[in-house]
């Protein structure tokens, strides 16, 4: 088991956003978090990356309690990659440098090795010829694939994806989802918040439905979508499918 979240709670001031989450991610699995905006998906991912301090509960990464304030937080963040909805590529660096930055300063690779590794990763997503371009010259899909590779470059134990396709034009969503499929085939363990239900059904191993800061229902992907049990799950799935049908 890569990740084990136990009774996780998170409040902002008086507002409880996560109210006791239990979650497990096994090696090589993709776990999909679904739920409407404000259900706590992003907050959950951020707490696992230690970007938010939790209010109660525990988070174990490879059996190490990373919610213990005595752990080296920077070291944990090295092991957990996080990709954002808005890409967050470094605006002042070329896409190559975006990837080499952490390789050099976190992993301690020398410039030549970092560059070779980054170029190989860019080549994998077909952007090697754009290595020296700046993020604002790239399409959203290209930026997001670069952002994913920036996180993957550090060979994280666990990769967190926070609605990585939500800011993309519909025709660019496919290329990013293809990349995630590739990563899974390569054995990367992924926890992803997503609105892409058909992707979750086809590629995820386990689906978790979050609503109002609690897990309403979870299960193996095929089962979850073909035979949802809880009324709120059914209602949520219907609503999303109706919207998808409209388009």
């Amino acid at each position: 088991m890569i990740l084990n979240v136990k009774g996780l709670e998170k409040s902002f001031d008086d507002k409880a956003v996560l109210k006791g989450i239990d979650l497990e991610v096994y090696r090589g699995q993709i776990v999909a978090l679904i739920g409407s905006s404000g259900s706590g998906k992003s907050t959950l991912l951020r707490t696992i990356n230690l970007l938010e301090e939790i209010s109660d509960g525990q988070i174990f990464l490879n059996d190490e309690d990373i919610s213990d304030p005595r752990v080296d937080q920077d070291e944990i963040r090295r092991q957990v990659g996080l990709v954002f909805q808005a890409y967050n590529l470094f605006a002042h660096l070329s896409i190559l440098e975006n990837i080499t930055l952490a390789l050099r300063h976190v992993k301690g690779l020398n410039q030549a090795d970092a560059k070779a590794k980054a170029l190989a990763l860019l080549d994998r997503i077909g952007l090697a010829d754009k290595a020296d371009s700046y993020p604002d010259k790239l399409s959203g899909g290209q930026q997001q694939r670069t952002a994913i590779m920036r996180a993957v470059a550090l060979e994280p134990t666990l990769l967190l994806l926070d609605e990585v396709t939500s800011a993309l034009d519909p025709e660019l969503v496919g290329e990013v989802l293809e990349l995630i499929k590739d990563l899974k085939a390569g054995g990367t363990s992924i926890l992803m918040a997503t609105h892409e239900l058909s992707f979750a059904r086809d590629v995820a191993d386990w689906v978790v439905f979050l609503d109002g800061g609690v897990i309403i229902e979870e299960g193996p992907a095929k089962e979850f979508f073909s035979n949802p049990q809880q009324p709120r799950t059914i209602e949520f799935l219907q609503r999303l499918r109706r919207r998808a049908g409209d388009q």
């Binding site: 963040r77 990659g81 967050n88 605006a91 002042h92 930055l101 300063h105 976190v106 996180a151 550090l154």
Partner: protein, 289 residues
């Protein structure tokens, strides 16, 4: 290619008409600008020269012979200003950045440091430079610290300039640091970069770009304020001019010194404009307004 239309095709008649109209309007506005500039210059010249005291003013402020005689001495002094400018600019950048960074520290241990920086910035932004010059220039030697020896006036002047300008520049840097979107820090931290690595590798490089124009403005101000060290007795361009004024009983050397400062400032001002424009273009490419 399905599209046989070449992009270099002859423009349509409508576009040609539009271009002709724009062209004629541009010519007309150039002409208007030219005529109004000439008219304005003539009026300004006539009203100045027709003033009853103009002959005496011309004699005592714009005297060619005095200017030629005084120029070498004033230039000598300007070299001192340039040296002071060089060391002040470096000192201001280093000290100003340090102040800005200290102010961004969040740990409670640093609370006294943060308070100190805030007090410092408030104090030196409010104090007139000339008072700082007097306090430093006459106060520090007044302490009679033997190990310091006799400090030259230009060094004390440099210290005063650094103290004052660092307060301004610290605020500029702080604004720049805060203008970098928080998502950039988040991305850096999520990759495992430490707080100081994030500052050094991600936040500051972006902040520097944002603050280049206001920083250049402060540099232009510094360029002329180095002339104020003359109040401490350093023989710079202003003090040199003063000596020449006393010698010739004529104010022209002041005008000479003033012109030299302006000549010094023009390249920096143009550079500042250029940088500002380039940044503005990058941020709103394609917009007409």
């Amino acid at each position: 290619m399905p599209n046989t239309k070449s992009p270099t095709l002859e423009p349509s008649q409508i576009e040609l008409d539009r271009r002709a109209f724009r062209h004629s309007r541009k010519q007309r506005s150039t002409l208007v600008a030219f005529i109004s500039t000439i008219a304005f210059a003539v009026i300004a010249y006539l009203s100045l020269t027709s003033a009853p005291g103009w002959d005496r003013v011309q004699q005592s402020f714009f005297n060619y012979e005095t200017a030629v005689e005084a120029l070498p001495h004033v230039l000598d002094g300007l070299l001192l200003n340039l040296r002071v400018l060089f060391f002040s600019a470096i000192g201001v950048l280093v000290f100003g950045l340090a102040l800005a960074l200290l102010r961004t520290l969040r740990s409670p241990i640093f609370t006294p440091i943060r308070l100190f920086v805030r007090g410092y910035v408030d104090l030196f932004r409010g104090l007139p430079l000339i008072i700082v010059l007097y306090l430093v220039g006459f106060g520090i030697p007044g302490l009679r610290l033997e190990f310091l020896g006799r400090i030259p006036a230009e060094v004390l002047g440099t210290v005063a300039l650094i103290l004052t300008y660092s307060a301004y520049v610290a605020e500029v840097f702080r604004a720049g640091i805060e203008a970098v979107h928080p998502s950039q820090r988040l991305a850096a931290r999520s990759l495992g970069l430490t707080y100081s690595q994030t500052m050094r590798l991600v936040v500051l490089p972006q902040a520097f770009r944002k603050v280049a124009p206001p920083l250049m403005n402060d540099f232009v101000s510094l360029q002329k304020d180095v002339g104020l060290i003359s109040v401490l007795g350093a023989v710079d361009a202003v003090r040199g001019a003063q000596i020449e004024v006393a010698h010739f009983a004529n104010f022209t050397p002041y005008v000479v010194a003033g012109l030299l400062f302006v000549l010094l400032a023009i390249p920096t001002v143009r550079l500042a404009d250029y940088i500002t424009n380039r940044l503005a273009k990058r941020e709103q490419a394609g917009a007409l307004l």
